[in-house]
Symmetry: D3
Subunit: 169 residues, 6 copies
């Protein structure tokens, strides 16, 4: 059985990782969709699809679990989005998502849809981690160590801070 | 004389219907544009273009008035939007719209533009009807009975409620 | 039962009309898709979607048969095209098309697909009619008289001839 | 040395002009990018790219300084935006922008990036000028006289006011 | 009076230059549209919009004639193309083009359209010049000397030759 | 060192596989780009991106070599294509491609570009394999056995044959 899990992974954190660990007990293979793949360099979506792929694959390297990572651009046309995902990915049987729109769209097309359990939601949260980066608080303990490395290599924290500077146009 | 009336019809309600009744006295044929045709499955735009077409044509079936229903995608380029509408529709002489941007764009291209009268705006309002659906209040009396049927068939009220669930990504 | 018939209708001719007559015996309602809606002003696709809608609705006006005319832009992404059509139209049960790609795409999604019979294919052909227009031969007897009127009003034959002039860039 | 300066110029005002005067001392030629070129007819972006080009070229006509004005559409894909600008413009050595995202994107690609000084920011501000137009206050002294002429010719102030009318769809 | 002249300028050659010289006697200002601006790196369209802008502005620098160079992307939607051009450029009164589609589209919108005279068409031809580059024949005498310089700087002839290598995928 | 290899893989054949075997000796990780990802259901590009991903991953499963498979849509804008690929993939040091346009684009951006050796080009060719499928000749020995399985499961040969039927619109 193959599963499909989609998220924005901005950045990939320990909560995401534990979700994948749980799902890996239920499916034989997992497709990990990189949602909003075209977005980057904003406070909400600081990292490119390529950077997010590296975060995920470095972290999962040591685990012997078969998965695919597929970037999925937003298409701003909800009614055809499931079909778009199907065209870009191997077929799958079950969909995992914490996002109600994603669940609704797949459910209406007849998919089995599950809502993964997320532990420690107040800290294992992309929004919280980005806020900590911006305000100079500790964030490294909330993501896998491989993700810390990736973000340091690309100077990701400074990218986020520079994007916050005021604009006067 | 042919008229053009554009709206989002999310959903098509009795206020919309009375506007069409009024306009039908002034024109020989009416083009009904389905605005933001590509949008669906959001709280603001829950229904697909196809679903909205069905709502309108079922309601108007018993009236012997010649009209066209044409889905119009957003193109996010205001200065060419009138030209885009002209390419997709039969030619028309007068434009009806409650939206000031639509009126401005057509007016600048030299069209006669009219603002249809809307009765009972506080209740005959897409926003109010969607709010009532979401909160479990009575909404059925605000739309034509054919629209009630369509929304029941597609389980539209539950779609809106499911889209409201919290997201934790 | 609702049917879906898609074509480019460049222009709408008597062969098209006889197809619709046949289909009208099999279905209760017919959705007529205007394929390649965004195309116009080329030798292969001279008429805009709006012009093609007028040709069809003028011709069908005298027949008491319920139909919808929906412009469908090309999206250059075959694997999601059926989903795109579904989003823009009321639901349908059976698809009619002379185009093998259209038939294949709908068939793979589980639709019943039929190939309409076309009489007198050498003359009832968009390509043949456009060739006759270009070369100044008689074409009017191959299309419904309403279509002759529409093409005369928009000076369509001269449009095609002017497009054939040589280019030296 | 060639410089690149991008802005939305909604409208082009005296603060913009003084920035160009400053930059003209540092570079031999200047490319002036018209950002969000596809936007117009909104309260935030009332003027078309063509209208903004006229404002700039009329103002700069009397100054003997070589510059290019290039409209740049938004592409909603930050990671490829620099490459998009490079494809549409002559090559440049230094980038001037008040926008932190623009600076970040060019900086990550290795460009020298400078933040132009802006005098009298509370008044020499597109937002403030649009607010004054909307509320009927004096705005003409904040833009070059050529810009006043352009806006009068296109009846720009009334465009903005009409766009503010309430919408009831 | 302002004129609009559009071409692909692949590359800008002496025939193009003599057209501009002629037009400059008829209009006060000229908008030079860079057609198919998004295309480059093919045998038919080897040069980017930025490279073509440089060719034109370097050549015209010594002539004291006011002009604008505006890149215009293809939009593959003929019926709205005139409107698209209008949005991106200052207003103009007369259109010059050797391309019958361009002339038809502007003529149908009511513009005065002129077909510029082209001398020595067999040699002053983008296609012929690209062929000569590819086959190692002399081409430099067919373009302004500034264009020779630009093409040498970007190693344009070798670009074209490398694009001709066989492909085995 | 990470390499990037892009192809259309229509279908993935033994020639492709031997290229990957060769490259795997030179790099530590390989990104395999699925070119023209949005294309499918044509004689030239019969298989979806998802189907091609399955062909590749099933074939490579038994080899212990780290790779990524990333679908890459065509964007019809050559000058920004490299930047588009970079945004969607992990960073890479060397590019492998049999396509001269791909090589040129990466070379101009400063990448090391290599042309992989291909054995038995007359038979190990997507075009030849598709021709054989269409004409009912033997093709199975030209692709890995896992690819034979995938194509059988999706009834790929009949898809290609049905697409060849004549069209009479």
């Amino acid at each position: 059985m193959r599963g499909f899990l989609i998220g924005r992974w901005q950045p990939f954190h320990k909560g995401h990782f534990s979700i994948i660990e749980e799902i890996s007990k239920e499916v034989d293979e997992l497709i990990i969709g990189i949602g909003s793949a075209q977005k980057s360099h904003t406070l909400n979506d600081p990292f490119t699809a390529g950077e997010r792929i590296i975060m995920i694959t470095k972290t999962l390297k040591k685990y012997n679990f078969p998965y695919y990572v597929i970037p999925i651009n937003d298409i701003e046309f909800n009614a055809i989005w499931v079909s778009y995902v199907e065209a870009l990915t191997p077929p799958f049987d079950v969909v995992y998502s914490g996002n109600p729109l994603v669940r609704e769209l797949f459910m209406e097309k007849g998919y089995t849809v599950k809502k993964p359990k997320l532990y420690n939601r107040s800290e294992y949260s992309g929004r919280e981690i980005r806020r900590r980066m911006l305000e100079g608080e500790r964030w490294e303990h909330l993501v896998p160590e491989e993700v810390v490395e990736v973000i340091k290599e690309i100077d990701g924290v400074n990218r986020i801070r520079r994007l916050m500077e005021s604009d006067y146009y």
